[in-house]
Subunit: 250 residues, 2 copies
C-alpha cells in the first residue's frame, strides 16, 4: 500500500492527456463528480488513459449535469502493464466482479477466463469483466489498463503460455505444504521469470485437466492452506504470495 | 484449500448434534434447502454448531415449506477457534460484509472492529458482522464459530492485547520492504506466538496513532506492496502472508 491522495477522485478517460486540454465529461461521469461526490469548480480530479501517466485536472462546471475537466500537470509517469497473467475459471454472480477487481488490485496485468470441465456456465460478459477491472484500476491508483483476454478452453490457455513463463497452479487437492518454499524452489527470486497464476472452479479440476497442467514444464502446484477458499479470496491470497516471493512486493 | 464435499449444503444450527436427533428447520433454512437448492427427502446436509464438530444429516421433508433434519454420523471432529485476531477499522457499505467473510475464510478466529481517527462513521451493526462471519464459516467448512468483539477505540484495543501476542500492523506508509522477511524476523516460525493483525481505515492512521502502535513491544509494521489495497483486499493479502509464514498454511 502506497501513500496516495484519496481525496481526489480518479477517472479513466480515453483522451490524450496534455497540459491545457479541455475534456468534456460523459454524462455519467459528470453526475458522479457533481452530484454523488458533490465536487465543484476548480476541485481536483486525477486522470489516466493507460498511455500518458496520471494527470491532475480541475473541474469546470458548465451546468448542473455537465462539466469539463481542464488538464493541468502530470502527477505520475506512465507505468508498464505488469507481466503477470491471472487465469481463472469463470464463476456465477457478483463474485466474478470481485475477482476481476481483486486480481487487478493485486497487480495482475492480464485477466484471462478459462473454461474447464467443472466451470459453472459457459457464458461470460467480457465487457462487464473489463468494467470491473477498470474500476479497480481507477480506485487503486493503477495506471496501466489491465488486458481482458477472450475466454478459451484450458488446453488452449495452456498452449498459449510461453514455455519460460512460470505457471503457479492453485491446486485444492495438492498436499498441504509451505507455499513460500514451493515458490522459491520453482524460480529464482533474484531473477524471476514472467508469471501466470491459474485458479480453478469451485468443483476443482478434473483428473485429466490436472494431468495436463502438471505435464507442463515450469509449473508449480501450490496449496493455499487447510481452509476452502472462494475463488475471489483465492485470487488475493495467491497473488499476495506470488508478489511477495517473486513479484513487486519484495 | 482442502478437498471437500461441495455438493452437500452446510448449515450452522444451535442444537446439540447427537446421532438420531431430529431437528426442525427454521422457515428460512427450510425454504433455502427445499426451494432454492431444490433438495428433497434423504438428501444430505452437513451441520455444525461450533461445539460438536461436523455431522451428516438427511432431510426429512414434512411439507412444501417445512422439513426436519435427522442427524446421522459425525464427519469431522470439532476444531478449536484459531487464536488469530483480526483488528480493523470499520468501513461503510458492502465491503464490510466482504471483509468479515474474508477474514474468517482466511482463518481469523476473532474479528474486532476498532475505531480510529479516520474511521468512516461511528456506527457498526455487530449482528450483521456476525451473520457474515457465520456465512463464511458455513460456506468454507470452518467448524469453530468466529468471535465478533464489540467495537472499541484504538488505545483500548491495543491495551487489550496480551504482551506476548505479535501484532502485525499493515502500515500503508511503511517503506516498501519484503513482508515475508519482516514476519520471519518478528517471530520464530518454528514456535509462533499468538497473533493479531491490524488494518487501518482508507485514510490511514493519524500520526499519534501510528506512534502509539509502534511503541507497543512485539509489533511489526508490514508493507503490502506498491499498490493501494482496499480494506477487504488487504485483509486477505496480509492473512495469506501471516498464515504462510507463522500460521497454519505452512
Amino acid at each position: 500500500m502506497a501513500a496516495y491522495d484519496f481525496t481526489a477522485p480518479r477517472l479513466h478517460v480515453a483522451d490524450d492527456l496534455v497540459p491545457g486540454a479541455v475534456l468534456p465529461l460523459e454524462r455519467a461521469q459528470a453526475n458522479y463528480l457533481l452530484n454523488v461526490l458533490r465536487r465543484g469548480p476548480d476541485d481536483p480530479v486525477l486522470l489516466f488513459n493507460g498511455r500518458d501517466g496520471e494527470w491532475r485536472a480541475t473541474l469546470a462546471q458548465s451546468g448542473r449535469k455537465s462539466a469539463d475537466l481542464v488538464v493541468r500537470e502530470q502527477t505520475r509517469p506512465q507505468t508498464p502493464r505488469p507481466d503477470l497473467q491471472y487465469l481463472f475459471a469463470p464463476l456465477k454472480s457478483a463474485r466474478l466482479d470481485y475477482l476481476a477487481q481483486k486480481a487487478v488490485e493485486m497487480g495482475a496485468g492480464t485477466i484471462r477466463p478459462v473454461f474447464t470441465r467443472y466451470t459453472q456456465g459457459e457464458r461470460l460478459n467480457v465487457e462487464r469483466l473489463r468494467a470491473n477491472a477498470l474500476e479497480a484500476a481507477e480506485q487503486c491508483g493503477i495506471l496501466a489498463l489491465p488486458e481482458i483476454s477472450e475466454a478459451v478452453r484450458l488446453p488452449v490457455a495452456l498452449a498459449a503460455l510461453a514455455p519460460e513463463r512460470l505457471l503457479v497452479f492453485c491446486d485444492e487437492d495438492a498436499p498441504l505444504s509451505d507455499p513460500i518454499a514451493a515458490l522459491r524452489a520453482a524460480a529464482d527470486p533474484a531473477a524471476p521469470p514472467p508469471l501466470a497464476v491459474l485458479v480453478g472452479p469451485e468443483g476443482g479440476f478434473a483428473q485429466e485437466e490436472r494431468a495436463l497442467i502438471s505435464a507442463r514444464p515450469n509449473t508449480v502446484a501450490l496449496s493455499l492452506g487447510p481452509r476452502i477458499l472462494r475463488a475471489d479470496t483465492a485470487a488475493v491470497a495467491v497473488l499476495a504470495l506470488v508478489q511477495s516471493v517473486l513479484g513487486d512486493t519484495r
